[in-house]
Subunit: 158 residues, 2 copies
């Protein structure tokens, strides 16, 4: 498994445990090397990075997980507006990417983060043709029976 | 109109004229200030930037315009694979963002570009809640009766 995937999986576990008190478990038997395009549904945050590590991390939540995450942070609201959910997903993506950035910086791959954007849509295809690394990780969220995915396109500079 | 919109519109005109020999005309009467989320369809390239200007630029082409652009660069092919079209859209987005980066650097707002990604989907909603600037520009492409859109989320640091 690529070191970026190892760090990204740890980042997701740490952020979801700390911020949401939700356990997410990576499917460690799945290969992390993906062949784009990658299809995402639900609510996805995206944060880009540039530097010794350049690329983008998408944190892809099912609708149910995104709503549950918003309820954990903002309090229960059955009529939660979509923009509040988007804000929480954007911030979670920021924190997971920031955690990955910190871990990669310790290995000498410093980078700067861009601002988070949030995509929603059914079957959005995300393609990337210029980065050598396309990595995916899927997670189960047993407590609420939802799933989480991370998709990373990246290039490392020695 | 924000200086970023002025520069982005010039960048699109220059890149489409130089690379594709296609004239694109911005709808100058439309306000460039957008209220996210913004809905995009067709084929969209996205390139992020970090530095004195931080954010992301989406270049959103109709399917017809994306195919026409690929035919101009790669030669006519009625059975063009989607990945080749994506590659051309990603590269055009890279060039438009690079042109904007260069113009903004002349004003003191240096930034580094990330790698392009390409999104496809019907009615993909793109939201951003952490950047003060949300800017859109729409263009007509009279020669082939298609449209082009640019969506930029950005933050400037003085």
């Amino acid at each position: 498994m690529h070191i970026i995937s190892t760090f990204a999986r740890a980042a997701a576990r740490e952020v979801f445990a700390t911020m949401l008190n939700i356990e997410v478990a990576a499917n460690e038997t799945e290969d992390d090397i993906a062949k784009p395009p990658i299809e995402i549904s639900g609510v996805s945050g995206g944060v880009s990075f540039t530097g010794k590590m350049t690329g983008i991390l998408y944190l892809n939540l099912t609708d149910g997980l995104a709503k549950a995450a918003a309820n954990r942070i903002l309090g229960d609201d059955p009529n939660r507006p979509a923009d509040e959910v988007n804000d929480v997903v954007g911030e979670l993506t920021n924190m997971v990417t920031g955690n990955l950035k910190s871990k990669m910086a310790d290995r000498g791959f410093n980078c700067a983060l861009s601002i988070p954007t949030v995509l929603r849509g059914l079957k959005v295809s995300v393609d990337n043709l210029q980065s050598p690394l396309s990595l995916t990780s899927s997670f189960n969220v047993p407590e609420i029976n939802e799933t989480l995915n991370i998709c990373i396109f990246a290039r490392l500079e020695e």
